[in-house]
């Protein structure tokens, strides 16, 4: 079947502002939106710019707005979208570089600000730092993050103020704060209780809806708010 794909294009060398361009593509219902973009780039317009890497929903490179919702192009099937035109636009809240490519630097700066790595200065045991299955389960959900930025760029608080650390950074802080082997929970909670930390989250739930890994993001943010209020990491 033939599908119309309407893409928001922007070439910083020639365009003053972004504009839509519509392509007609032959597609199967089981094709992914990424396949459509590859067909357009390969056979119709080689100048189309978008990020992709693994194409299997793991690397998080190809998050974009598809029919108004943040999704991974490699996980979105044509048959799951409403019939007619498929609209593809870049993520909101980050500055546009070209076509579907946005500047991810602010996103990763916020990610780095929450110390997304294990901190433990205690002498390592002979074999490994042991953890019970229950302790591992405590932060299992937030280990699934692939840093695609679908959550942060769906958040109205982030749209209105780019200094807010955003849901993705909080999710990755959660992954270490609730890790029984980590010792920097207090430091991360201090960072997140700042003016641009968790209190800019107004539980809008866009992040939870947008997450392609189905992480319960708003719940994780709520758990961090509770940890700040009680000091308990259970």
């Amino acid at each position: 079947m033939e599908i119309k794909v309407k893409i928001l294009r922007f070439n910083p060398e020639t365009d003053k502002r972004p504009h839509y361009q519509t392509f007609r593509v032959e597609a199967e219902p089981t094709d992914r939106v990424l396949d459509l973009l590859e067909k357009i780039k390969g056979y119709q317009d080689g100048s189309l710019a978008f990020r992709r890497s693994c194409a299997h929903g793991i690397c998080g490179s190809d998050a974009m707005r598809i029919n108004g919702m943040n999704r991974l192009a490699c996980k979105t099937l044509v048959k799951d979208l409403s019939k007619g035109t498929i609209t593809v636009e870049p993520l909101l809240g980050l500055s546009l570089i070209k076509d579907l490519i946005v500047d991810m630097d602010p996103f990763f700066e916020h990610y780095e600000s929450v110390m997304p790595y294990l901190v433990n200065d205690e002498p390592p045991p002979l074999k490994e730092r042991l953890q019970s299955p229950e302790e591992r389960e405590r932060f299992d959900d937030t280990t699934k993050c692939i840093l695609c930025a679908a959550c942060t760029t769906s958040c109205p608080s982030f749209w209105s103020n780019g200094r807010y650390v955003g849901p993705a950074a909080i999710v990755n802080a959660h992954r270490f704060i609730f890790d029984s082997r980590d010792r920097a929970g207090a430091e991360r909670l201090r960072i997140l209780s700042d003016q641009f930390g968790v209190y800019r989250c107004h539980t809008i739930f866009n992040c939870t809806l947008a997450c392609p890994r189905e992480i319960q993001i708003t719940k994780a943010i709520g758990e961090i708010k509770r940890a700040i209020a009680t000091g308990s990491l259970d």
């Binding site: 229950e134 608080s157 103020n161 003016q195 930390g197 308990s232 990491l233």
Partner: protein, 140 residues
């Protein structure tokens, strides 16, 4: 799983106001329910329209309930208990609402030069409404 705790971060202004929003929201519901129930206990039976119910709930004050046909309205409502009750409701209501406005404004402006100016303006508005509310309650 052993209990893990960390020292709580020093109380930031954002944390205090976030906690205040929750406590004041719950307090407003509780105080409003008390006012409404007490209006019925005192014999309010007529004019059960929405504005009247809202006045009974959030403005337990003889000026506001005089048309509710509560017998002996001035004896029922015009005493220190209801004056304190209404001052507390007004304080929580004004603070809760204006803090919400502050949060919305700061969502957009962040900590630019506008932040201290608008915070100051909201504080002055808060002070004005609080003083006016206390004056009206005590003078009525």
């Amino acid at each position: 799983m052993r209990n893990r705790t960390v020292p709580q971060p020093a109380m930031s202004f954002e944390y205090i106001m976030w906690m205040f929003t929750r406590i004041s929201g719950l307090a407003l519901l509780f105080l409003g329910a008390v006012s409404l129930v007490m209006a019925f206990v005192m014999g309010a039976r007529e004019l059960l329209d929405m504005p009247t119910l809202a006045r009974w709930t959030f403005f337990p004050n003889p000026n506001h309930v005089v048309n509710s046909k509560i017998p002996d309205v001035t004896q029922g409502w015009a005493n220190a208990y209801w004056q304190i009750m209404q001052i507390v409701i007004a304080f929580f209501g004004i603070s809760h609402g204006l803090n919400g406005l502050r949060v919305i404004i700061e969502d957009y402006i962040g900590n630019t030069i506008w932040q201290p100016m608008l915070r100051g303006l909201i504080f002055l508005v808060w002070l004005f409404f609080t003083i006016m509310a206390v004056f009206v309650i005590l003078a009525s």
